[in-house]
Amino acid sequence: MEHIPTTWYLLLAAILFSIGAGGVLIRRNTLVIFMCVEMMMNAANLTFVAFAREFGSTTGQVFVFMVMTVAAVEVAIGLAILVELYRHVKSVNIDSFDSLKG
């Protein structure tokens, strides 16, 4: 198997991150926004792993486990909030949560 250069991983991560960021910015479905945030986080994970391989260090890989753990926790809380929001507003459209409007 041919050796894939680190740059490609980084490019892929950048693309994934941009897609995620774009999704957060333009999508209205809260669940989808949520998934986009996850995607951004995993793009970051990918760069960690790529650099870990590049430098032959495990630090980056350990960090990824850390991030994944925190992400799992975050998902649990985020989804709980989402469920509660839905119960109140009967909608998952992000624009219907505008009670902080000044």
Binding site: V24, L25, D95, G102
Partner: protein, 657 residues
């Protein structure tokens, strides 16, 4: 011993702490065996007696030592730049005599109060306040600087307020407490300004340093000293109940009788006299101010005596007589007879405390009735109270030769007579006012004796209820009665070749400097043996005439009093209404004050402060908030956008620039 002088203050303070925090608990714990007032009263009395013992030990140590004067510094209290105030005590003959009066008379009054307060639920609170008062008064007389004097001065004012309003559920008592406090504030305002002026002129508040600077000066402080003495005297007017600020003292009789005896007769009200005597060097250098002081004292003495003539409330008679006697003391320190003023303070403390406590004993036996129109004939029912009251009354009227009041009052009158500066005539006028007041004093005092203890009982029910009080109340009366007679022999007229221990011996070193100043100015003429005898005789005759007059009018021909009252008609009514001074103050000061407060409240406060400042600042903040709220669209995408843009801008700034 003198370095332990702080113990005299510490003991009553310990009493305060125990009675304040554990008084009720201890009363409940011992309720099976003792009355409430006996438990807390015991603690209160013991602490003051201990304080008296320390004072007496200091007195014994100082006895026979010339120029006894020690400054006992405990610690620095305030240090700001050049401004230093220390917690520090001055122990000299003047403060020792005050120490003995406050703790000695104070002890007896505490013991008496154990019996007097035995029907009262609030005895723990009562003894807490009473002990706090003793500690405060000792701070006042012991401090070696004006700041400490002022602290004590205000603390006794607070205690006076608390104790006058002790029965605060009675509106009249609550009002009287407020009146005393507010009227005193007027005087204290001047007093504080006087102290500020002392500091800004001399840069120190220490008595000794100020006196030293004044003594070393050559007239360059003359106008400052005039102002300082005027301002300090304004404080004395309030505290010592002189015209025009005397109005609080008669109302202060709303408090329990031991309070009237301790605070409003023996100790606190004499603080003004003490303060002037303490600053005798300053006052001796301000002869014109002193003359004003003497006249204020003399006029107050006369004016208050006329009101005492017609009052029917026994305690109020004594209150007016206190104002009148304080007038004598102020007259004395005004003419420069500082030792005579302190001597009268000393004897007055005994016989006036005695009179108040005997009156309280009557009140206690008569279910709180103190109106002399309902008393009468109590002589046989309450023999001990009668005899002690009679001794006190004799001392107050200046019954010749055997009573303390005769010697101390005569001392003042002779000094007033001797006054030469600025004009002999002033001395004669002051003497005349004094001697007329002495006549009135003898008359109203024995009017009270005859109306209360002689004649037929006017209220049969009350009379039958009357009984002599317990030993705990009568014993202090007897001790004070002994001093009401004996204390006079400490200050016999030296011109007759008799020893005036208090003036020429004990207090001489304190007054030496002012004595020299006055001698230098030929302030006093020195009258001879014959004239002294003549003046003494006049005083004696005046006292006897007053007493005889009271007997003539109230016992022999009671109709005379009724006829005179009817004949005098409107004038009688005017005096009975206390010259309507309270109404005058009400119309000209209190009502305009209320009007001004109304204007300030309704126009300045509600319109300017509330609407412009308070509402204005709130509205401007809200307006600014509305502008900022435009940014808060409520769309999360907008917020996220701001975050992203921010990150991009930061990235560009840090990595590309």
């Amino acid at each position: 011993m003198v370095e332990y002088v702080w113990l005299t203050i510490a003991f009553p303070l310990i009493g305060v702490l125990i009675n304040l925090f554990f008084g009720r608990l201890l009363e409940d714990a011992f309720s099976k065996w003792f009355k409430r007032s006996e438990v807390t009263g015991f603690i209160g009395s013991v602490t003051v007696v201990l304080s008296f013992l320390v004072s007496f030990a200091i007195f014994l140590q100082a006895l026979g030592i010339e120029h006894f004067s020690h400054q006992v510094k405990l610690w620095d209290w305030i240090t700001i730049g050049d401004f230093h105030v220390a917690i520090s005590f001055l122990v000299d003959p003047l403060s020792i005599i005050m120490l003995l009066v406050v703790t000695g008379v104070g002890s007896l009054i505490h013991i008496y109060a154990v019996g007097y307060m035995d029907h009262d639920e609030g005895s723990a609170r009562f003894f807490t306040y009473l002990n706090l008062f003793v500690a405060s008064m000792l701070v006042l007389v012991l401090s070696d600087n004006y700041a400490g004097l002022y602290v004590g001065w205000e603390l006794v004012g607070v205690c006076s307020y608390l104790l006058i309003g002790f029965w605060f559920f009675k509106p009249s008592a609550a009002d009287a407490g407020k009146k005393a406090f507010i009227v005193n504030r007027i005087g204290d305002f001047g007093f504080a300004l006087g102290i500020f002026l002392i500091w800004s002129t001399f840069g120190t508040l220490d008595y000794m340093e100020v006196f030293h600077e004044v003594g070393a000066s050559h007239g360059e402080f003359a106008s400052v000293i005039n102002w300082v003495t005027i301002l300090l005297f304004v404080g004395a007017i309030g505290k010592s109940a002189q015209i025009p600020l005397y109005v609080w003292l008669p109302d202060a009789m709303e408090g329990p009788t031991p309070v009237s005896a301790l605070i409003h007769a023996a100790t606190m009200v004499t603080a003004g006299v003490y303060m002037i005597a303490r600053n005798n060097v300053l006052f001796a250098m301000a002869p014109n101010v002193s003359l004003v002081i003497a006249f204020v004292g003399a006029i107050t003495a006369f004016f208050a005596a006329t009101m005492a003539l017609v009052a029917f409330d026994l305690k109020r008679v004594l209150a007016y007589s206190t104002i009148s006697q304080l007038g004598y003391m102020i007259l004395a320190v005004g003419v420069g007879a500082y030792a005579a003023g302190i001597f009268h303070l000393f004897t007055h403390a005994f016989f006036k405390a005695l009179l108040f406590m005997a009156a309280g004993s009557v009140m206690h036996a008569m279910k709180g009735v103190i109106d002399m129109r309902r008393l009468g004939g109590l002589k046989d029912k309450m023999p001990e109270t009668y005899w002690t009251f009679l001794i006190g009354a004799a001392a107050l009227s200046g019954f010749p030769l055997i009573t303390a009041g005769f010697w101390s009052k005569d001392n003042i009158l002779v000094k007033a007579f001797e006054l030469q500066q600025p004009n002999q005539a002033f001395g004669i006028i002051l003497y005349t006012i004094g001697i007329i007041t002495a006549l009135l004093t003898a008359f109203y005092t024995f009017r009270a004796v005859f109306m209360t203890f002689h004649g037929e009982p006017r209220d049969k029910n009350l009379y039958d209820h009357a009984h002599e009080n317990r030993r705990v109340m009568t014993l202090p009366l007897w001790i004070l009665a002994i001093f009401s007679i004996g204390a006079g022999f400490l200050g016999l007229p030296s011109k007759l070749g008799l020893p005036n221990w208090i003036e020429d011996g004990w207090l001489y070193s304190v007054m030496a400097e002012s004595h020299e100043i006055l001698e230098h100015a030929h302030h006093f003429a020195h009258i001879g043996f014959g004239l002294e005898i003549a003046l003494l005789s006049i005083s004696a005759v005046v006292a006897l005439v007053g007493i005889f007059g009271a007997w003539h009018v109230y016992i022999r021909y009671p109709q005379i009093a009724v006829d005179t009252a009817r004949y005098a008609g409107r004038f009688y009514q005017l005096v009975l209404d206390k010259y309507r001074v309270d109404e005058l103050y009400d119309t000209w000061i209190i009502e305009p004050g209320k009007g001004l407060a109304d204007i300030l409240a309704k126009i300045v406060d509600m319109n300017f402060i509330d609407k412009t400042l308070v509402d204005g600042s709130a509205n401007s903040v809200r307006g600014l908030g509305h502008i900022m709220a435009i940014l808060q669209t409520g769309y999360i995408r907008n917020y996220v956008m701001v975050i992203f843009v921010g990150i991009v801008v930061m990235g560009v700034y840090f990595f590309l620039l």
